[in-house]
Amino acid sequence: MTKNHPNYISTTNACKLCKPLGACLAFKGIEGTVPYLHGSQGCATYMRRYIISHYNEPIDIASSSLSEKHAVYGGGPNLKLGLTNVTEKYRPQMIGITTTCLTETIGDDVAMFLREYALDTAGSKELPDFVNVSTPSYSGTHMEGFHGAIYEIIKQRAEGGPGNRTVNLLPGFVSSADYRLLKEIMDDFGLACTMLPDLSETMDGPALLEYEKIPAGGTPLSAIKAMGRSRATIELGRTLDDEETGGKELEKSHKITNHRLGIPIGIEETDLFFNLLSKLSGRPVPDKYVHERGRLVDAYVDGHKYIFGKKAIIYGEEDLVVGMSAFLAEIGIFPVLCASGGRSGRLAEAIDDVTGDILPSQPGVHEGMDFFEISEIAETLAPDLIIGHSKGYPLAKKLNIPLIRVGFPIHDRVGGQRILHLGYSGAQQLFDTITNAIIAKKQTDSSVGYSYM
């Protein structure tokens, strides 16, 4: 059930972002790294504005600032000048270079420019490391850009050698609060972990006295190099590519077992994650999480009648949509439309895998959708709530139903980076938020004005 809506030529209010934006976000989660866009100036500024509006944090993305003559004669000289200037002002450990549709189309060979630049600068001290990823915005979404950057840095930097006890964790694109939780969980299991990327501090940092040119935090480069020696990789995401991902690359080049799970949203998916950690650590699930799970089940019971049979529309990044579908199904909400602007070709199957044993029938699952199409279908479904990022607000307003804000971007509320989605504690917050939104809607629409449920 992937395609039964009319196939429009034009796109209206896209439900996806462009590829380089995802790559820049991934690079922001690596310690001492400045993302760098090889393209014209506007791309960097637009992406910065878009990301800032979610995180309310500074995000510096450098640019080759290409102009007309560079588009004709090639962007190599400006790339090199830009790298020199970023090195001088930011003193980064690494510059993560992403391409744009402009430089891909004029045929700039960034890898070759970097080899030339290495020769030009041979012998100079304090040069950062350079990693590049190809991100033409005319193919794929920001998620392909994000995973592409992770794949490339692992491919270009992970080294083999004597094995160690570390576990690689590749969570995909989740909130800063989610990254913090994942680190805490790994720590509580006593597992040494390299999490890539790590946006927990770099995009949600404290107020400062001295401006940090590059915010503290992020996955250390030394840890990334050592990823080829870890004992296992956990890669989250059920719609990821079969070949070119960080976990697959580590498996192929360094023989590291790749455990691929869904993003742990809701009890079922989180149980799978905790069971794996238990197996890898040889320890039982720590009491703290056993209790969290117990409280969560208790909350599910307390609230189940308010939400049973409600119909939800979910949209956003494919793996987030899969995780949210799993969660909604297990609390008794029926996902009637699961939509994404992405086109992995795996969304319907992944949703079936996580909801098949609960839902009486498969929800409508659509890849490659925009908000025009989502709205068009939504009006025939009489949904009770909408779950996704801020850009679904016009639809929620039109249908006069609650929007539960999850994922990225959250542009119309504060604290998007602190929304917790993962684990039992994330499910607890989502459950309370959703249940209360439904109760509030009923309360607001009622003329009685009860002050109890």
């Binding site: 030529i9 034009s10 796109t11 209206t12 209010n13 896209a14 996806k16 972002l17 462009c18 380089p20 393209g39 014209s40 100036q41 506007g42 791309c43 960097a44 500024t45 637009y46 992406m47 504005r49 800032i52 509006s53 995180y55 309310n56 500074p58 510096d60 450098a62 640019s63 080759s64 600032s65 290409l66 102009s67 007309e68 560079h70 588009a71 400006n78 790339l79 000048l81 830009g82 790298l83 020199t84 200037n85 970023v86 001088e88 930011y90 744009t100 549709c101 402009l102 189309t105 004029i106 033409p136 915005s137 005319y138 193919s139 979404t141 107020a207 400062l208 006295l209 401006y211 040119k213």
Partner: protein, 464 residues
């Protein structure tokens, strides 16, 4: 100590009184300098965006359209077609085989669906490279649908935001001269360069109505295609935000002989001056006409009423804010003049002022109206701005979304004066809103906790 700016940028920074004024500006941004600027496309998109009954189709990959979806707080009193983000979402095959066919079909589909008054089609970087003949496609669709379809030459890399403003003006100029001007009053004007953020153009229009002047076209806040078509029938073009629409005013003057006047609607001083200048213009045009005299009288009454209404409240803010320091970094420098004056009105001191796209004349004027020691900067970046903010111990920073986290991270107040804001800052009421905005950031008790203001003896002992 490390220099604040890269060597190639040092002559884009001037400190008043330290050297003879000779700032470099209007150049391509330096690679790797993390400019706050956008691109040609951005310039065109922000200027045309508020035309509410036109279809705005971005021809390119998805990014350019999605990052400009509902980007401005530009309100409409009627249709809201401008708030939708239309794109051809070019894919790899389109890039290889050309996007003309997809563009044509997308236009036909969208025109059928929305029946717009006109369509603007924006080219993006990639369209300039693959060489789609947008002009030909637009002409063809125009003949097929009978709706004006206008290409906007806004390839991102073909210059900076200023080039985009010009491309937008060129696009609008194609509409001008195609509407009926018969019933337009001789006391009439077009409003250029106001984008109706938070309803500002509605306030300004009311002032003109109270003065007895007809507004022909809003260009472009709450703009309508049919109004723009007859804009050449107005007696005067009143241009705010000179960077963006001055080009259009010049073209109209050349072709149709309509004179233009530069104004600013920010701050009491500039707002009053703008209205008086316009009243004087009509008085000069029609020296013996009682209607022109009435306009002047109405203007005096209006200014007196408005000013006397806001002075008492403004005085409270002035008392609280006097002596505080302000920094300004905005897109176009013309707005900066008004902000310098507005801060002076509430006795605040401007210590840093800069813009993305100012001209040499603009910066010279800023140099003339600011105090000695003020830093004047062109096309700056986060690292320079943070070091200036710290050096000058600033209390409030006025800028756009990209400047906000720079201020907040350092524990400095912030006032959004860019196109996403939801507060009306133009007009007489706008001055009051502006003062209130500044006041509510500067006077917030939260600053006592930020490291910049934290008294270390009050900190709880660190654990661990």
């Amino acid at each position: 100590m490390e220099a604040v700016a890269l060597k190639d940028r040092q002559n884009q920074i001037h400190v008043k009184g330290q050297a003879p004024f000779n700032i470099t500006c209007n150049q391509d941004s330096l690679a790797g300098a993390v400019s706050q600027r956008a691109c040609v496309f951005c310039g065109s998109r922000v200027v045309l965006y508020p035309i509410a009954d036109a279809l705005h189709l971005v021809h390119g990959p998805i990014g350019c359209a999605v990052y400009t979806w509902d980007i401005r707080g530009a309100l409409s009193s009627g249709p809201e077609l401008h708030r939708l983000s239309f794109s051809t979402d070019l894919q790899e095959m389109d890039v290889i085989f050309g996007g003309e066919k997809k563009l044509r079909l997308a236009l036909l589909e969208l025109i059928k669906r929305h029946t717009p008054k006109a369509a603007f089609v924006y080219s993006t970087c990639i369209v300039g490279i693959i060489g789609d003949d947008m002009e030909a496609v637009c002409r063809q669709v125009e003949s097929e649908t009978g709706i004006s379809v206008i290409p906007v030459k806004s390839e991102g890399f073909m210059g900076n935001k200023r080039a985009g403003y010009q491309a937008a003006c060129d696009a609008m100029f194609r509409l001008i001269g195609t509407g009926d001007t018969e019933k337009i009053s001789r006391f009439s004007l077009n409003i250029l360069g106001d984008f109706n953020l938070a309803g500002e153009i509605w306030m300004i229009r009311k002032y003109y109505e109270r003065m007895g002047i007809e507004v022909v076209a809003n260009i472009t806040g709450d703009g309508r295609v049919d109004d723009i078509r007859r804009a050449h029938g107005a007696a005067l073009n009143v241009v705010q935000c000179s960077g963006s629409t001055m080009g259009l005013a010049d073209m109209i003057e050349e072709e149709y002989g309509v004179p233009s006047m530069r104004v600013s609607y920010f701050g009491i001083e500039d707002m009053s001056e703008a209205l008086y200048d316009i009243a004087r213009f009509f008085k000069q045009q029609y020296p013996d006409d009682p209607e022109a005299d009435a306009i002047m009288e109405n203007t005096k009454t209006l200014v007196q009423e408005e000013v006397s209404r806001l002075v008492p409240e403004l005085e409270q803010y002035r008392q609280a804010l006097a002596g505080k320091k302000a920094a300004i970094y905005v897109g176009g420098s013309f707005k900066a003049f008004s902000l310098v004056k507005a801060f002076r009105l509430i006795d605040m001191q401007v210590v840093l002022v800069g813009s993305q796209t100012g001209t040499k004349e603009d910066y010279a004027e800023l140099e003339a109206i600011t105090d000695p020691g003020t830093i004047i900067v062109d096309d700056s970046n986060p690292l320079e701005l943070t070091s200036f903010l710290k050096e000058k111990a600033v209390d409030i920073f006025v800028g756009g979304v990209k400047e906000r986290p720079i201020a907040y991270k350092l524990g400095i107040g912030f006032c959004d004066h860019n196109h996403e804001r939801k507060e009306a800052l133009a007009g007489f009421e706008g001055m009051l809103n502006f003062a209130r905005e500044v006041y509510s950031s500067v006077m917030s008790p939260v600053w006592r906790f930020v490291p910049r203001k934290q008294k270390t003896e009050n900190l709880p002992p660190a654990v661990g």
